[in-house]
Amino acid sequence: MPASDQLPSASHTIQEFVHGYEEDHRLRGFRCPNCGLVTATWGLACPRCGKADLEETALSERGSVVAFTVLSVPGDEFLNDAPYAYVVVELDGGGRITGWMPAVKSERNLAIGDRVHFVPGYKPGVQFAKDADAPGVG
């Protein structure tokens, strides 16, 4: 069954991606049927092979940290949250996504390869937590 059938509504706009994170708690992406790339970034054509035939797909909510930083000086929508980690996550079913981790207060508390999961219902953006930590496990 095509992955797009698993989603209640089409993710054709950036707003719908963001809505997905923040309202119905789903991570959305596109899959390229031509080259197989899975991307969490909005677009009309595959950023790898260029074919304009993207299919919507649900993304896994679990993955591993590929790279991260812990910000002491936050972005302006995160003023009350610093320090926090900004992470690039490789999702289990394919595709990478970036997000933030409010519970990570020091670079000593996170490592590349650490297992993380999406924490729905928080604003703004895509929030992750370490599998080893509460909340949201299971």
């Binding site: 950036i14 991606f17 963001v18 991307t39 969490a40 970034t41 909005w42 950023p47 790898r48 590929v66 790279a67 991260f68 930083t69 812990v70 910000l71 002491s72 000086v73 936050p74 972005g75 302006d76 929508e77 995160f78 003023l79 949250d81 926090y84 900004y86 690039v88 595709g95 990478r96 996504i97 970036t98 997000g99 933030w100 670079e107 590349i112 703004p124 953006g125 895509v126």
Partner: protein, 384 residues
């Protein structure tokens, strides 16, 4: 295609400007034109860069600059490519002059940020990333380069002192550059004691917010005939793009656009890496200088840190890097940076870089990145 030269180049002192961007841009433009032995009426096209001009409540600044230069009928346009804006303008000027569309073109970049508080300025910088998919998820501009630094350190473990060596070298060069914002050397102790901004990047890994203006005049060889300065022959003017979002990049060990632009430039110039005598690279953060040296093909992946520590990149080293002090210490007035790299090369070739000369330099390369690598310009210059 005609041979195109840089015949004049001028910069103000980076840091904090009392005057508006428009005034500073007009001033450095006239200086660059005069230095070339030309008059404003010789200019056939003006390419202006001013990313954050709207913060001064001023858009469409090109006609105002041309008006101030007494050439209001000369066409102008604004070229925006984030931090690589004025090198993108230089590329357009090259295309116009080499292509025979105009005999002489003015490239000017200017930025004024000092009227904004740090938070506002930081958020403007972050807007050059992908707002919806990076900034909204907590990224800042230092945070994105810190993420690259984290990936690099995982692949090639290094002590903090390696990035510190980059900062110390660039501050030492800027201490000898009258255009530089920080004309002061720093010690390793100062570097290591500076606060963490985004791990592993400390305050002294980061370029400052800067005001500044720089201008370059490009003219056809056949138009100039008898140059009054030592011109820079533009041997290559190449640009490249790449996926902006880190989440879609195949690897995080460098900037793909730098590799593509460099390969194009060296093909265009018919030169190899060993023929370049010194480079001005885009060191918005210390890690970016390491990535640049490897992406440009001067050093194998994972070895730039050792080269910095060993002095290879010092002014008297095998490959001098950022004799101007770089973005790190000369300052980074976003839209002026690309043009200011060319000012440094022009001053080096014309004996104007007193106290920071690169010995026996005949060729140089300028590398200018837009934001986190969505855009990149590489220019190669030589003496006549």
């Amino acid at each position: 295609m005609r041979e195109a030269w840089v015949v004049g180049a001028a910069s103000n002192r980076f840091g904090k400007m009392k005057e508006t961007g428009r005034e500073a841009a007009t001033r450095v433009s006239l200086e660059a034109i005069r230095q070339a032995g030309l008059e404003p009426k010789d200019i056939g096209y003006t390419f202006v860069s001013n990313c954050f001009g709207l913060t001064e409540k001023q858009g469409h600044v090109g006609p105002l600059i041309n008006g101030g230069l007494g050439i209001p009928d000369v066409p102008s346009c604004t070229i925006e490519s984030a931090c690589s804006s004025s090198s993108a303008g230089l590329h357009e000027a090259f295309v116009h002059v080499a292509g025979g569309f105009t005999d002489a073109a003015l490239v000017v970049g200017v930025e004024k940020l000092s009227h904004l508080d740090t938070l506002t300025a930081t958020s403007y910088f972050a807007e050059a990333a992908d707002y919806a998919f990076e900034t909204k998820n907590g990224a800042t501009f230092p945070g994105l380069y810190a993420t690259l630094a984290n990936a690099y350190q995982k692949a090639f473990p290094m002590k903090p002192e390696v990035l510190g060596a980059v900062a110390i070298k660039n501050h030492a060069n800027a201490a000898r550059n009258p255009h530089a914002q920080f004309q002061k050397e720093i010690t390793m102790e100062t570097y290591l004691n500076s606060p963490m901004i985004a791990s592993p990047l400390r305050l002294f890994d980061c370029c400052p917010f800067s005001d500044g203006a720089a201008a370059v005049v490009v003219a056809a060889k056949e138009f100039v005939k008898q140059p009054v300065t030592e011109p820079l022959v533009i041997r290559a003017s190449a640009r490249a793009g790449s996926i902006t979002e880190m989440q879609d990049r195949p690897d995080l060990l460098g900037l793909p656009a730098s590799r593509t632009a460099a390969d194009k430039a060296f093909r265009q110039a018919g030169m190899d890496r060993k023929q370049i005598d010194f480079v001005e690279v885009h060191d918005c953060f210390t890690i970016a200088e390491l990535l640049a040296l490897e992406d440009l093909g001067f050093l194998p992946r994972g070895t730039a840190g050792k080269a910095e520590v060993d002095g290879v990149t010092a002014r008297d080293g095998r490959l001098p890097v950022n004799p101007s002090g770089g973005l790190k210490a000369k300052g980074h007035p976003v839209s002026a940076t690309g043009a200011s790299q060319v000012v440094e090369i022009f001053e080096q070739f014309n004996g104007l870089a007193k106290g920071r000369e690169v010995p026996r330099a005949e060729t140089a390369l300028a590398h200018n990145v837009g934001a986190t690598g969505g855009s990149c310009s590489v220019h190669i210059f030589s003496r006549r």
